[in-house]
């Protein structure tokens, strides 16, 4: 498939750009932070996005979605990155939906229509330690009556605080560190024995820490196969990784554009600072790096439909490269803005913080580079 957008995709991107510029610019995130909003994102805004089909972008039409695919989803994530829009798009609309699409008809019927309507929020509860590592799942799920009993903890659950349900990666057999023996369960918010608190990270977004003490779920809470959930989990995480890569691409582009504008307007020594070759060469290098990210991200998004077996490699490439360049873009933006870039009043710091979080979530550069090296046989 050609690495260009078709007309329909360009229209979607333009619509997303227009909507987010108006309704959810960086100022909206700043307000959520300053108001100490308990949720960290706006339910009203999410409803509007759902009306445009975004919440159901991966939901099959029979369950009320538009089933548009990952390229379109990535374009929305990219525009959200440009505006630093806070929403449960990646957690719920991309990852939870990808998991539920592989669930039973009953599970789809129960959850997907609510997600597509923007009413139901579901988060993926995977990590337990400070680095992303799904194989290290320790939280246990043991057969109990007709269902399972969960015990353990999950941390840094993206949009997990106040979510209607969590899709929990649990160990049903094997040892911590094994890929085999992991199963996925959907656990509703009201389940007895589950308690969540919000973890506040530097990007002011919604993360939860959740404890499970003898949480009982029915047998039909299992998504996919018992003990063999790792491959499904990886497919879901790959969707999230590609989504985060697209978001970081947008955030990098916006940081870069703001910096170029500043270089053309700021004067020192009687000239525009953008006329200094020291800054020009760094800018041109950064431009080149962002172009590489664009290609890696578009390729990853297309691979979900054109080469699903290789989508994990594509997502790892995009996540690694977007994270690396995102950090560079944010660092250069602050440095080239000089003192004003260090102030909270100016927006660039919000980009630096979000990129720092996004590149860590679902696997940082080293995590993804390591998997690519494994795949390439070295």
């Amino acid at each position: 498939m050609a690495l260009v957008l078709n007309e329909e995709q360009e229209m979607l991107r333009d619509a997303a750009k227009g909507f987010l510029n108006e309704k959810a610019p960086v100022g909206a995130l700043r307000k959520l932070r300053d108001d100490d909003d308990p949720l960290g994102w706006s339910r009203d805004l999410w409803s509007q996005m759902a009306e445009m089909g975004w919440a159901g972008i991966l939901v099959p039409e029979e369950y009320g979605g538009i089933d548009y695919g990952m390229v379109g989803a990535g374009l929305i994530a990219q525009e959200m990155g440009r505006n630093l829009t806070a929403s449960p798009f990646i957690s719920t609309a991309l990852m939870a939906v990808s998991a539920l699409r592989e669930g039973t008809d009953e599970q789809k019927e129960k959850w997907l229509p609510g997600i597509a309507e923007g009413k139901t929020i579901i988060a993926m509860a995977v990590d337990e330690g400070v680095k992303h590592d799904p194989a290290k799942t320790a939280l246990s799920a043991q057969a109990h009556g007709n269902g399972y009993r969960l015990n353990g903890e999950k941390a840094y659950i993206i949009d997990g605080f106040d979510a209607d349900a969590l899709i929990v990666a649990a160990r049903t057999s094997g040892e911590v560190g094994d890929e085999a023996g992991i199963s996925l369960f959907i656990v509703e918010k009201a389940a007895a024995g589950m308690s969540s608190s919000r973890t506040k990270l530097l990007d002011s977004r919604n993360y939860a820490h959740t404890e499970f003490k003898d949480v009982d779920v029915a047998g039909d809470a299992l998504i996919g196969s018992l003990d063999e959930g790792f491959a499904l989990l990886e497919r879901v995480l790959n969707v999230g990784r590609a989504g985060l890569a697209a978001e970081m691409l947008g955030a990098s582009e916006q940081s870069f554009d703001m910096t170029m504008d500043y270089l053309k307007e700021r004067k020192q020594f009687g000239v525009n600072v953008g006329s200094f070759q020291g800054l020009q060469h760094r800018s041109a290098h950064l431009y080149s790096e962002v172009e590489l990210v664009k290609s890696a991200v578009l390729n990853a998004l297309q691979m979900f439909s054109t080469a699903p077996d290789m989508a994990g490699a594509g997502a790892a490439l995009a996540k690694a490269k977007a994270g690396e360049v995102g950090i560079l873009a944010a660092n250069e933006a602050v440095q080239m803005h000089g003192g004003i870039g260090m102030t909270d009043e100016f927006d660039i710091g919000f980009y630096m913080k979000r990129i720092r979080a996004a590149q860590e979530l679902l696997g940082d550069y080293a995590f993804n580079a390591n998997r690519l090296a494994n795949l390439r046989g070295f």
Partner: protein
């Protein structure tokens, strides 16, 4: 079956029948490449047959129009041809500055007579071309070139010196930038002209590089007579052609950064594993080197995708333009990194300069050759200047 699927089937069948077995393995070194020309010396009969068959079909220049000897393929078809050739490890039948650089310029700026005359010869590999651009006093500042071309009524007369002329001593013809007006700003007095290297007054002198090899020459012109019809485009408008051509050259040099052609299709990570072995988990034994290799592969894959994307966008009507400077800059810097890693992977063995094990220092000589990548065709610093000015719109210093 779609038209493209049909084309793939046909192409596969044709290649199976027509690509000689000897041409289905990676080139071992530069000597295995076929550059064609009047004085071509084929390494084997198979190489000759392969060039003749591909040239006859126009597939040495797959996307050029059929009327000029090209393959007349669409971009999608050309991509399929490339894939099918890669699938059987078929070598390029012809390496050619005529195909990569002069041809695109003639297609855009040449007269109908020039296209009809020169392009089919290029496709068939009958004439080997070199490029006369840089001069001793005109490197990064190419437009200050001084080689003079005077109007002598029924012909032009050319006197001057070029340098860094790739394979000038082995080439049949040259496409050359010359000064046709000395009294106007430097960009406005340059013309683009073609002439036979066998003409009286042309001489070449190979330059020995740090690699010990001599891919470049100094080239001297002493009152060389050139027919008037050899001028391409408009008199004094040669800079436009030069810029257009540099775009192609940059894309081509950048290309060397992504592919693994010279490495026999193997990734640098796999080459390192062959040299150094793995640990119990199957990972390269040297973990610091492994991290560097992974980084180079991430950038290499992203760069390859970027070249694909630029080609796709060009086809969709968004020209590459100054973005070729980005490809040139990134591709050449990447290639230098890759060779540094290859040198590290092979350790002391990579230092051998003479001897059978290293085939007389093939790797270190190739490593040294890459150092020119970021100089020739406009230095990395010039590319960054172009990106700053023409893409980012940053003010002139």
């Amino acid at each position: 079956m779609s038209d493209l699927e049909n084309f793939r089937e046909e192409t596969r069948a044709w290649l199976a029948q027509n690509c000689p077995p000897e041409m289905r393995k990676p080139m071992r070194n530069e000597e295995d490449a076929c550059w064609g020309g009047r004085n071509v010396e084929f390494t084997c009969e198979a190489q000759k047959v392969w060039l003749e068959r591909m040239g006859e079909r126009g597939w040495t220049a797959p996307e050029w129009p059929k009327e000029y000897g090209g393959g007349g393929l669409s971009r999608e078809q050309a991509k399929i041809l490339k894939e099918e050739m890669a699938a059987i490890k078929a070598r390029s039948a012809l390496m050619s500055f005529g195909i990569w650089m002069l041809g695109p310029a003639l297609l855009k700026y040449g007269s109908e007579e020039q296209k009809k005359h020169y392009l089919p010869q290029i496709v068939r590999g009958e004439i080997r071309w070199c490029q006369g651009y840089s001069e001793p006093g005109a490197g990064s500042d190419l437009a200050s070139l001084q080689t003079r071309c005077d109007d002598k009524g029924d012909h032009y007369e050319i006197t001057g010196q070029k340098v860094w002329t790739s394979y000038a001593d082995k080439s049949d013809w040259i496409f050359c930038l010359v000064r046709t007006d000395r009294d106007v700003p430097k960009h406005n007095g340059i013309s683009f002209i073609l002439f036979d290297m066998a003409s009286e007054g042309v001489s070449t002198k190979p330059i020995t590089l740090i690699s010990g090899r001599s891919p470049f020459c100094e080239t001297f012109f002493d009152q060389v007579k050139v027919p008037k019809e050899n001028l391409v485009g408009t008199l004094n408008k040669g800079w436009d052609i030069a810029k257009y051509l540099l775009t192609h050259e940059r894309a081509m040099i950048g290309d060397s950064g992504g592919g693994g052609g010279a490495l026999g299709g193997r990734s640098i990570g796999q080459i390192a594993v062959d040299a150094l072995g793995t640990d119990a988990q199957g990972r390269l034994a040297d973990s610091a080197l492994r991290a560097d290799l992974a980084r180079a592969e991430i950038d290499g894959w992203s760069f390859l995708l970027t070249m694909e994307r630029m080609k796709d966008e060009a086809k969709a009507g968004q020209g590459i333009g100054a973005r070729s400077s980005m490809l040139k800059y990134y591709g050449t810097e990447l290639n230098k990194r890759r060779y540094e890693l290859l040198m590290a992977s092979k350790g002391h063995g990579a230092l051998e300069w003479e001897g059978e094990a290293s085939r007389d220092g093939e790797l270190p000589r190739a490593w040294l050759r890459t150092k020119a990548n970021s100089i020739e065709g406009g230095t990395s610093e010039v590319q960054l200047n172009i990106i700053s000015k023409r893409i980012l719109g940053l003010p002139a210093s």
